[in-house]
């Protein structure tokens, strides 16, 4: 049996007691888009706001001290959770901002003095991504290429939904400045071979950027949680709202030595060392990358989310998700006309199951599921090129999480069958 007491866990999430559409119990299978938040997270935010709220790193009064402590304690907690040092963790509004931060900082490097030059790029330089990236880890690099004249290249995806590494030696070369890839695909569920890619990147002196949005919240089966230090990546990003935390907070991880040398991105208050009308100098990281008043309550909430995840245990969460994934793959596989897009076993694969139903458009499947109380996502899930690779405009995506019961996936199956009946296929 699963190591998680799901019935008890569900009591912590008020929204899961809700009904939708004609009093149907909510079956929330859209945690890959955004997770729900437990009372513990809401309480931490509220307690902060009602008792300690103040500007951080600025005031000398008691509230300011308390607020600063809450903000920095959360940082230390989050950092430890992902195998990082506190000053390697930068708060962001979301993971998307983190990729943009790296891309813009690299763009700024060419006008930021000699120390920053190692980040600069221009014509002849290459950035390598993959065909399975979320738009967040693709469009910022396209734009950086457009601004600098560098060239974008990418790994293809196999029919099974794995990264096609066959041409890795042609793709990742001395010209490669950045290798950016997702830890786990938000459509296929595929877990990518981080070690292989990091080794290759470091061979050619390229920086690695890991999109950890779909791995940090879930852990990776067989490992307990994601450890950036151990993975050896240079940068990584993830979002709080996908891991039980509040909306409006994300994290950039960067190896100390790199953050030290990297020019700033957003500029303004709190990230400076000295400001004169004629020019400014900047604070050390992580402050250098945190311009303006930050999402303090949300950072505190994310710290509480990390506590919650740690209490359940990332190993137990990954195992629970593996069971749910296995049930999804099995159950959907048994419905004639359903095609799973992505690996069909739980091997190196997380709890993201996308599929199509012959003769019924994903939007219509989603609508029928909605009428059964089942919340899934339909569309290209911000991975449009990947869908093009498979020659389809859209998929239906079920993404269970630690609070989902095995019985809930049965409701999904029921809904899919009902859609087939309704549309007479």
């Amino acid at each position: 049996m699963t190591a998680i007491d799901v019935a008890r866990v569900r009591k912590d999430f008020p929204i899961l007691a809700r009904t939708v559409r004609d009093e149907k119990p909510l079956v929330y299978l859209d945690s890959g888009a955004t997770s729900q938040r437990p009372n513990q997270v809401l309480e931490a935010e509220r307690e902060y706001t009602e008792q300690h709220n103040a500007a951080v790193h600025r005031g000398a009064h008691q509230l300011a001290e308390e607020a600063t402590d809450a903000y920095e304690d959360a940082r230390a907690n989050i950092a430890a959770f992902v195998g990082a040092k506190p000053d390697e963790v930068v708060y962001l509004k979301n993971a998307t901002e983190g990729i943009n931060l790296i891309a813009y900082a690299m763009g700024n490097a060419s006008t930021s003095g000699p120390e920053a030059e190692r980040f600069a790029l221009g014509p002849g330089d290459e950035i390598v991504v993959t065909e399975m990236e979320h738009h967040a880890n693709l469009v910022p690099w396209q734009q950086l290429c457009q601004r600098t004249g560098a060239t974008l290249r990418w790994f293809g995806v196999t029919g099974e939904g794995r990264l096609d590494l066959s041409n890795i030696d042609e793709l990742v070369t001395e010209r490669t400045k950045v290798l950016a890839f997702t830890h786990q695909s938000n459509v296929l569920g595929t877990v990518n071979p981080v070690q292989t890619l990091v080794r290759k990147a470091h061979e050619v002196g390229a920086l690695t950027v890991l999109d950890a949005c779909q791995s940090v919240p879930h852990g990776v089966h067989g490992q307990s949680g994601v450890d950036f230090g151990a993975l050896g990546v240079d940068f990584a990003v993830f979002s709080g709202h996908k891991m039980l935390g509040p909306s409006g907070v994300g994290v950039l991880y960067g190896r100390s030595e790199l953050l030290q040398a990297m020019p700033p991105f957003l500029t303004g208050g709190s990230m400076i060392e000295m400001v004169r009308m004629a020019g400014s100098t900047f604070a050390p990281p992580p402050q250098r990358f945190e311009a303006g008043s930050m999402m303090i309550a949300q950072a505190v909430g994310l710290g509480a989310a990390v506590d919650y995840l740690k209490l359940l245990g990332m190993g137990a969460i990954a195992e629970h998700e593996r069971e749910l994934t296995a049930a999804l793959l099995r159950g959907l596989g048994e419905i004639p006309g359903v095609t799973i897009v992505g690996p069909e076993t739980t091997e190196q694969r997380g709890a993201v199951v996308s599929f199509t139903v012959d003769g019924v458009h994903p939007h219509d499947v989603g609508q029928v599921l909605d009428s059964y109380g089942v919340a899934v996502r339909v569309g290209h899930h911000c991975a449009w090129p990947l869908h093009q690779r498979f020659g389809i405009p859209a998929t239906v995506r079920a993404t269970p999480y630690l609070y989902n019961e095995l019985s809930e996936v049965d409701t999904l199956f029921e809904g899919v069958r009902a859609a087939q009946e309704f549309f007479k296929v």
């Binding site: 994903p362 219509d364 609508q367 859209a394």
Partner: protein, 149 residues
């Protein structure tokens, strides 16, 4: 059951048996439209005969709502003055953005009144309007109407 209020028989009929489908030549204006959230797309062509919409032809992929809506569109506009077609479009847009609170005028909208139920599902309103957006844009490209109007 709620589903039936969205998926009226008329909609399912048009979806299964779309009218005027396929891209035809010649044409005066063509538009390609895409729904950025779900990836649905449509290419739609308009052929004019003076003030009249002589033909509307289209191709694309999409859900039942978007496919049925464009099929109904062809019924409503082919053979009508472009100006009237746009007035019909205005009525349809008003219905779709009305959150289910706008009473449709069957004289103007004919089969399109079947979409009244869709208006209660804001996420699907874009689907119903995709073809109409393409139609208007194609008219603009054909210089039949002003972009601003």
């Amino acid at each position: 059951m709620q589903l039936d209020s969205m998926y009226q028989e008329i909609i399912l009929d048009h979806y299964k048996h779309p009218h005027a489908r396929g891209l035809r030549e010649p044409f005066d204006g063509e538009s390609f439209q895409v729904n950025p959230t779900c990836g649905d797309e449509i290419t739609l062509r308009v052929r004019l005969d003076g003030e009249q919409v002589a033909d509307v032809s289209y191709d694309g992929q999409g859900c039942s709502i978007s496919q049925a809506a464009v099929s109904v569109l062809t019924d409503l506009v082919i053979g009508r003055p472009a100006k009237d077609a746009l007035a019909t479009m205005d009525a349809f847009v008003e219905l779709m953005q009305g959150r289910g609170k706008v009473e449709p005028d069957e004289d103007v909208l004919e089969d399109a009144i079947a979409f009244a139920g869709v208006a209660k599902y804001p996420a699907r309103v874009k689907c119903a309007l995709l073809g109409w957006m393409a139609f208007k844009d194609a008219l603009v490209k054909a210089n039949a109407v002003d972009a601003e109007k």
